[in-house]
Symmetry: C2
Subunit: 555 residues, 2 copies
Amino acid sequence: MSPFHELHDRHRATLDAALDAIQSRAFLAHWPEPPSGKIYGETAQADGEAAFKALLGARFDALKQEGAARWGGAEESPYGFPLNVTYPLFDADTLVARANAAFPPWRNLHPRERAGLLVEALERSAKNFFAIAFATMHTTGQGFIMSFQASGPHAYDRALEAVALGLQEQTRFPESADWEKPMGRVSVKLRKNFRACGRGTGVVVGCSTFPVWNSVPAIFANLVTGNTVIVKPHPKSVLPVAIVVADLRAALADCGADPDVVQLAVDGEAPLALTLAAHPGVRLVDYTGGSAFGEELERLPGKIVFTEKAGVNSVLLDSVDELDPVLENLAFSVCLYSGQMCTTPQNFYIPAAGVREKDALVPYADVVRRFGEKVSALVSNEKAGPGTLGALQNPATLERLDAAQRLGFPVALASIPVAQAGFAGARSHAPALIEVPADRPDTYLKEMFGPIVFLIRTADSAESIRLAARSAATVGAITFAAYTTDSAMMDDIEDALLPVGAPVSFNLTGPIWVNQAATFSDFHVTGGNPAGNASLVDPAFIVRRFFIAGSRRPA
Amino acid sequence: MSPFHELHDRHRATLDAALDAIQSRAFLAHWPEPPSGKIYGETAQADGEAAFKALLGARFDALKQEGAARWGGAEESPYGFPLNVTYPLFDADTLVARANAAFPPWRNLHPRERAGLLVEALERSAKNFFAIAFATMHTTGQGFIMSFQASGPHAYDRALEAVALGLQEQTRFPESADWEKPMGRVSVKLRKNFRACGRGTGVVVGCSTFPVWNSVPAIFANLVTGNTVIVKPHPKSVLPVAIVVADLRAALADCGADPDVVQLAVDGEAPLALTLAAHPGVRLVDYTGGSAFGEELERLPGKIVFTEKAGVNSVLLDSVDELDPVLENLAFSVCLYSGQMCTTPQNFYIPAAGVREKDALVPYADVVRRFGEKVSALVSNEKAGPGTLGALQNPATLERLDAAQRLGFPVALASIPVAQAGFAGARSHAPALIEVPADRPDTYLKEMFGPIVFLIRTADSAESIRLAARSAATVGAITFAAYTTDSAMMDDIEDALLPVGAPVSFNLTGPIWVNQAATFSDFHVTGGNPAGNASLVDPAFIVRRFFIAGSRRPA
């Protein structure tokens, strides 16, 4: 009995609770989302910030990936300072050779052993949630609370979800079975063994805005199914991923497993992503990022490729009980991390006749004006605004924001710069609201990543549904928010949007937003439209990473 | 309540029994495999033959696919006569447009409705097993019994397996769930709905040797998950597939569904497969056939592609209790359908020192001689031989057989022509056994489709294992047969062959052969080596054909 079985026993309740939630789709948070001292320790935040600061201006040597030819790194905080952290650089051949050398013993562990090890590693790394949060904040530009939640509890819950479903899928069929075929007076009796086999080495290519959240499901899905992983973060968002990978490697080594089952790959002068993904020694590729490169990866011959690419998310406004809480909810949705979420709504379809509020129609122009006021109120709220907005990760997003306001369409609300206390150089800007005619899909049927909102006046809600469904089908969508009090229209919306792979959120107000996808319950990205070919975490995200091979012998 | 729900109730026991077997991997045959009058009716065989003969020399009009521009067909029986059957010809745009028009209502049925309809259609079509068998025999060249079993009960069991697993996978998560997130003194309550959505139209490209068996799993996997299907059989093996598709269309129409959810596509002057598969209106592609075209299909951008391609299957001879029954079993395996099964063993690895039989070593040369004698005895047995061999589907296979015997390597047993009673023109030929040196992988590491067996003398069984594992990993394998009485070696073989995706059969003798894969129990093709990227019928074969989209609203 290997020592790893004990780890499975230790974490069995955690895995069982995860599987219960996955099955019921009920609420579960294994790691609590509030960055609270009461939960994580009164000094946890200060300790995490100190740990983050201690990493700045230095070599990141916690990975223990030996033999680097060079060290490099080029990260800058969107809050206005360089990180000056350097990482060990390796070429693709070295990384792949190490991963493939670590593969056979890892593959040969029982899925329960791997699952136990991986939950143990997650639990240990969760002690570093605050350091990971500060590293996330100062690479992505997220506000602190989002940095903590998205790269900490929410991400690790998604990782746990992948581990639990991975364990279940690999063990759903019996390891041995007796088979007896009656053939008249005799029968043929066979004893069969079945084995779930990992495929080899996977490469996980991360994005700049959610480096941890978008990478750990794939990392852990690969690991639990017996594959090794090379994690290639975006060159501008390495540090939070580096901490996670270093934690994993340390936990694996400490438990007696080969840490090379997960390695960090950092870009040197030449980007590594395509070289790694196309490497003949690599079998699996996971990717989050822009559509053009995602489609290039999807076409790689002989690879199994999972993507989350760009989409255009829509909001439909038809009828409400009270308009103010709806507009407040939506104002928060478009301000949250300055519209840099793959779930952020971009296109608002509003009937020309206005939005019905109880028995009255609020004219279109009033809806636009009042929405602008809600956004202004939030961004001008010194307590809530800056932390909600965070900073723009990429200078190109600011250029896009400026260009969008110069398209020639009416700007209902101009973007303004927003101060971030303590960070004079922060790249922080409030959303712009721009009115685009419904007959200009050339403008609004493309992703305008960042704090850019298009308001589109439609003939009526039936047209809004048609436009939103066509948008999801043709350019992809990851979320869809609809506000209607008409239950028949709700059915119409489900029938129009779900089949084109757009998850629908109806009538959200209060502390729940269309941007959020709940681990264990909501499938994030459906894989049913051009926004991606995979879904977090559905069975297809798991079962393609291994295969089942059987043996049989006379019984 | 739609009338289709009643069909699900009617066939629930059948679906439940299938799911029980899928879960336990125990034996199940919903349709009995003996072509027996006692089971299928005393006149069933004669009626089936008459029905087949009535189709010859005529337009096949049972499909009821209207508006054909032209009719065509070019099938010839490998037993030596032309079929002169013609089929309605359509261009790809017409077929895809009809499929996509039929898609939304089909997708919108509940998975249980589709499953009920599909089992009903299978049960109705099973009345035509004998006509399908004669059509199979006189397109593929299979012997009559194999034609019956492979295109009848075995194929329909695989179809049922796909329907049952498809139903289970689409309904494994709740259709609705209540989600409540505690947030201090308040909580957020949402009601969630989940819907499994088909992706659109699939194309199923069949092969010439197992036109029904290799197509129906994909056809039914697509249909049960809410997709529509265009079935494109090999131009030389249309008729059995045409009968199946006509049966399906008739059953669907009779039950009140749109028959255009499944259509037959027959090649005219230009082959249709690539045009259909690459058509922008097609989402899913299933393919059985050669590797080069399979890899071309796998690279099609934006398609979900399932393939079974070519492989090289091996036999390892190490030690046995009694050699004669082993060689008899293997002689049958290589004679069965003249080696034209994707599961036929090709390369026999035999230790130079010989095969241990109890306490004695049977020298290598004796093993080769005695194996040749067993093959000769079978092919010369007038009762068993011709029916086991059948005929060569493709004249190119006969050319390959001739060329293999002229490679310059020792021919341990030369191929001989075999008479098929009643069919003077049958293309029927016994296997050739050819000794190829172990250092000539350029010769033996490629598929030699047909009655061609390579005997490879190895240093020892450890080398045999290494060569077989490398072969599976590099050129693919669908089966592997090992004969050893050494349980440690059995473990070594499992550890070497299963991870490269080669299912292992140990020590088979008597009425069970490595060529056979049992529905509901054995996974056929693992998807774990170059012989194919899919497995019949594992969860990955099902879950990629649909996605889950959810809605949520305040509860």
